[in-house]
């Protein structure tokens, strides 16, 4: 990841560790909120179906996967790193859990106590998140491989394990209980969305209410100074990649549960790039990151996706227009940021 020249100008960012969630609002939040409201208004007026319960529910089922994965990307970026292997981790977790349910344990044993085995399978996914996180942490923190290279290598390595074990085939035939998370709602709120909100809140707490988060942000700002201030940079990096791995694993569970399958290439490179795009939209830079902006950025991407899908219904290749508009939006936000920063610098 490139160092962002703009990071020094975000003067007001120092504020938010002092006060609670309210202080999470910064200039980028207002910008994103504006974009979000404008988009919702635009699609709401042009399509009656957009602001219906059905469409909102369907968005709430779709966005958590990429949302949680983006948080897995955000935390390493805060330290000046990046984790290109997030999607590979989530697929590896899903594949191993899938194989456990379908191949490793005899079917009659699973069907005797399906809930237990599904829980076990989900725990396997989380364990994979931790193990893969440790591998990334070792490479980046202890061996000193630049994060972009280390995680590029492990991305191939993790996908390689999935490919080898499945022969490239998608794993299916899960017990119904696997689908509970991905398809059910609690008090009309889809469970994946609840999980996304919980992980977002958890990220906020980790980053702003624990000493781990404090050290992570300080290290991102100036690793030499953090070392001289008694921060053990290596352990911080290790923990950062473990947390990233766990979040990626949670995504694996969400995907597995919604699609009732585990595929080695699910999401592929596109998902990885999308998570970075979200982080860039939310203005995540080494040392500074706003969880609320992450949440907004995810919502914006989903609104664009669903909105244009409705507007362009019946048009050939309509589902691809969203990619185009994501790119355009990102460029626009860069330019707006540039002028906002320029003003600030002149003051």
């Amino acid at each position: 990841m490139e160092p962002k020249p703009a990071k020094t100008s975000m003067v007001n960012r120092g504020l938010f560790s002092m006060r609670p969630v309210v202080a999470q609002i910064d200039r980028q939040t207002i910008l994103l909120l504006g974009v979000f409201v404008a988009l919702v208004a635009f699609f709401g007026f042009t399509r009656d179906t957009f602001l219906t319960e059905r469409s909102i529910t369907s968005m709430a089922f779709q966005l958590p996967e990429i949302g949680v994965l983006a948080l897995a990307m955000m935390i390493p970026i805060l330290t000046g790193g990046i984790n290109l292997s997030v999607n590979a981790i989530s697929n590896l977790g899903a594949v191993l859990a899938g194989l456990f349910l379908v191949k490793l344990v005899p079917q009659e044993v699973v069907s005797a106590q399906p809930a237990l085995y599904v829980l076990l399978a989900f725990s396997i996914v989380l364990v994979i998140g931790v193990v893969t996180g440790i591998i990334n942490g070792l490479l980046v923190g202890y061996i000193g491989v630049p994060p972009i290279l280390a995680t590029l290598a492990t991305m191939t390595f993790f996908t390689g394990i999935s490919t080898g074990l499945t022969g490239g085939k998608t794993v299916t035939g899960f017990p119904d209980q696997v689908g509970y998370i991905g398809s059910e709602s609690f008090l009309t709120i889809p469970i994946p969305f609840i999980i996304f909100v919980l992980v977002t809140v958890l990220t906020y707490i980790l980053l702003f209410q624990t000493s781990f988060g404090f050290k992570t942000r300080m290290m991102g700002s100036n690793p030499t100074a953090s070392m001289f201030s008694g921060v053990n940079n290596r352990t911080v990096i290790m923990r950062v990649y473990i947390v990233s791995g766990i979040f990626a694993a949670i995504t694996g569970i969400l995907v597995m549960s919604r699609t009732m399958s585990a595929a080695i290439e699910y999401g592929s490179t596109t998902y990885v790039l999308l998570t970075i795009l979200i982080c860039v939209l939310a203005y995540i830079v080494p040392g500074f990151g706003n969880v609320f902006n992450m949440f907004l950025a995810v919502l914006i991407l989903q609104v664009i996706s669903t909105g244009f899908h409705m507007v362009l219904l019946g048009v050939r290749g309509s589902s691809f227009f969203k990619d185009f508009s994501w790119g355009v939006l990102m460029i626009l936000i860069f330019i707006i940021n540039y002028f906002m920063r320029g003003k600030k610098a002149q003051e």
Binding site: K7, T8, M10, V11, R13, G14, L15, S17, M18, I205, F208, Q209, T210, S211, G213, F214, K215, R217, M218, S221, N222, T224, A225, S226, M227, F228, S229, G230, V231, N232, R234, T235, G287, F288
Partner: protein, 503 residues
């Protein structure tokens, strides 16, 4: 003397309401080494920027070699033969020596294609002009700081410099390297190239200057021939007050007390060998030696940055393992790095966060959450205690002035409440006035019972603070002196003498 090359007359420069230079005149003669001395904020860097065309003066005239300028652009300044060697040397680390030297000619010629033969020829000529030899085909990143500086000087000379402006050129050099730099300056002088030497290391100024100009608060406080000018006089003109060196009070060290820090047979490959030392409460122990003598490695090992390979470290009689800075701070050891802003400060983060970063683990509740209120109160307390000029501790550290930033770093390690303090070059780059203040602070901390390891090659500094001084040579402790038993001159001879051994 001979003809004047540069003369500025009645220069004034204001930034907003602040007067940086007020009606200052000075001149540099051909082949003269003129030292420009002054504390931070005295206006000397503003003057350099006016001479090099970066700033336009509000009033006054500039004469270079007979040409009169009301304002000067950087390009005119270069064309008139004024070359500034900045502290970063303006080199490309990844390019070879030859290319770095000849890149300006290449660009100035406007040629779109490179003839490597020409590049090497220009570089060889340049090196020959100041009579030094550096391999042409190695990249600059592999060179020592002193060699990089030489390359920068060669570049300037090749650009037909008539005046070489050097901004604090000796900061990162060893004694030996400083000596050879001075020889080069003398050599340039014999060819009629003048040097404007900006420094606040006064003993160097006495050594090199033909003439010394001192600025204080934007006005010229003194301008006279350097002969017979001593350090005391210069200090007086710089600060406007007499610096009392007689009234130093050293704390008493109780020889019978249990040592705070005990190091036995400590070794680090490529660093130092077989180190034994003891530090008592209230004692200030100086460690000196040339660059490469192992002094910095030893300090970094004691602070866990470069853990030792073997040997024993005990704090208050208890053996401890120090494998990381976290361990060291846990044992009550604090370290103040030499480059306090770059290695000590988080410029973008809030002042409060900067202050508490070393003690953050002490601000965690039973459930593992940060006590954010306590954090804020701690920060605000230090802001009050050290009289930091800021409306709130929530502002980023970079909103502070340089002096206030130094205080934030100070607050950070004082907040750690250490038993043992390791200081690496505590007054490098600090002006005379603040230097005395820092020395008094160090002594007062020792009087309160802290043990202090002071790493420095500033001999007056060692003599004014330390109880004992260890001299390191080639990774070993070569000698130990008690302050009362040695003079500055003897210590200086011992330190320079070490260079013969180090090579």
């Amino acid at each position: 003397m001979t003809e004047e090359i540069l003369r500025v007359e009645n220069i004034s420069k204001r930034f907003g309401g602040v007067v940086a230079l007020n009606n200052v005149s000075m001149s540099v003669a051909k082949g003269e080494t003129c030292c420009l001395v002054g504390e931070n904020g005295s206006g000397k860097s503003t003057m350099i920027k006016i001479i090099s065309g970066v700033y336009t003066p509000d009033e006054g005239d500039i004469f270079i070699g007979g040409n009169h300028y009301k304002k000067l652009t950087p390009i005119e300044s270069i064309r008139e033969g004024i070359q500034v060697i900045y502290q970063d040397f303006s080199l490309f680390p990844n390019l070879t020596v030859a290319e770095n030297i000849s890149i300006n000619q290449q660009l100035a010629s406007g040629k779109q294609f490179i003839k490597w033969k020409d590049i090497n020829r220009i570089a060889e000529e340049g090196l020959a002009r100041i009579n030094i030899s550096v391999p042409l085909d190695v990249t600059v990143e592999t060179l020592s700081t002193a060699d990089r500086q030489l390359i920068a000087i060669v570049k300037a000379v090749l650009a037909d410099a008539r005046i070489l402006i050097m901004d604090e050129p000796t900061t990162a050099l060893t004694q030996k390297e400083i000596a050879s730099l001075f020889k080069i300056i003398d050599d340039l002088k014999s060819r009629g190239i003048s040097t404007l030497f900006v420094s606040h290391k006064l003993n160097e100024v006495t050594e090199i200057a033909d003439r010394t100009v001192i600025f204080r608060n934007g006005v010229k406080a003194m301008d006279q021939d350097a002969k017979g000018l001593d350090v005391k006089t210069m200090e007086f003109y710089m600060t406007g007050r007499k610096i009392e060196t007689e009234s130093i009070s050293f704390g008493k060290v109780d020889i019978t007390s249990e040592p705070l820090l005990q190091v036995e047979n400590l070794n680090l490959k490529h660093g130092y060998f077989d180190i034994n030392l003891e530090l008592k409460p209230g004692e200030i122990l100086g460690i000196t030696g040339l660059l490469g003598s192992g002094r910095t490695e030893l300090a970094l090992s004691l602070f866990g940055v470069m853990p030792a390979d073997s040997g024993k470290i005990s704090v208050q009689g208890k053996e401890v393992k120090i494998r990381s800075t976290e361990d060291a701070i846990g044992e009550g050891i604090a370290y103040v790095p030499e480059d306090r802003i770059r290695e000590g400060l988080f410029l973008d983060q809030s002042i409060n966060d900067n202050i508490v970063v070393g003690i953050i683990d002490r601000m965690v509740s039973r459930f593992g959450f940060l006590k954010n209120t306590q954090k804020r109160i701690e920060g605000e307390n230090w802001i009050k205690r050290l009289e930091l000029k800021t409306p709130t501790g929530a502002l980023p550290a970079k909103s502070l002035s340089g002096g206030n930033q130094q205080r934030v770093v100070l607050a950070k390690w004082l907040a750690e409440n250490p038993k043992i303090l390791i200081l690496n070059g505590p007054t490098v780059g600090v002006d005379v006035g603040s230097k005395a203040d820092i020395h008094e602070l160090i002594r007062s901390l020792a009087r309160e019972g802290l043990g202090i390891l002071l790493i420095s090659d500033d001999i007056p500094e060692l003599m004014q603070t330390c109880h004992r001084i260890l001299l390191m040579r080639g990774g070993r402790i070569a000698e130990e002196f008690k302050r009362e038993e040695i003079t500055e001159n003897q210590l200086n001879t011992e330190l320079i003498g070490a260079s013969a051994v180090n090579g």
